[in-house]
Amino acid sequence: MSEPTEYEEHEHHEDDAHHIVGPPVYVVILIALLIGTALTVWASFIDLGFWNPIIALAIATTKATLVVLFFMHVWYSTKLTKLTVGAAVFMFLTLISMTLADYISRAWGSW
């Protein structure tokens, strides 16, 4: 029971339409996640030196990205949601790199 407002005028863009993600997408992502899990476990049994953690984290990040984009619908979401997710990742990486910068630049051992 209200006058059309600015929001309503802008809401009919394709970007804002509620997108229903169907079972085929979910099945493909499920299979990708299962393969990713198999790969990361297999890789952990091979001695790759300092590459072991890098490969494990790369596979974990790929899996997490698939979950965020498709199970959590971010691929089909509004720009606001995409920005929010991006901000979370950016903030986490900023905080962790600042903490590590402090950690590696201390005079360890001189006290």
Partner: protein, 258 residues
Amino acid sequence: MPDSSAIDHGAEQAAAHTGQAHDEHPAYLRHHFNSTEQQADTTNFAMWLFLVTEVMFFGGLFTAYLIYRNWYYPAFVAGSHQLNVIWGTLNTLVLICSSFTMAMGVWCAETGRRRGLVLCLILTLTLGLGFLGIKTIEYSEKIEKHHVPGFHYSLQSFTNPESDPEIFKEYHDKPLATDMAVHTEVYFSLYFAMTGMHALHMIIGIGILTFMIFRARAGAYTTGHVTFVENFGLYWHFVDIIWIYLFALLYLISRHGT
């Protein structure tokens, strides 16, 4: 103040008669929103903001783990060798499948499939309980071996690895000096803090799932108002993502260390 809902209802009926469709709206649309789309977008944004705070919360634990692992590397390797990769892999598979069934549940809600939604929620709940069951087996192993940080913590598996034959035959770890072995307690503190906080999120999720199963059986969520299921899905997938990282960091990356 007259009863405004009665007036709205009257107006809706009047609108239906005069064909003024823009006056009709579903009962779940709150009056401070202009449209169901705006309401859904707003709620979705709020859920994501909550998940951002969760990223920061678990991020602190991940950072602590990263730095302590770097600091007490031999102790973290030895501690990690106490974890069973098979249980960890099984739990990862269980959780990924539960994320899949949850995603399917959201689809069922969106497309109005009541029985499908109830089935998906029950499967998600069952897989969630399965995850916690396996976690319980793992925790009880730690309790039996006195690897829970505290007064009864035992260094024996680390100062004398051959006393722990099951682990020794797989990894052939060299004994740690006592001053390094004591830091395995830091590893297990972080192990219990991280997997414990994760398990707590699972338990909360299972509580909400139970509530949703009863509501869904009564016909909720499948008549257009899917926000609750959708946002719970976001929470459940987020918990899955945390486990994907915990599995890599706690179980996998230290298998060939030192």
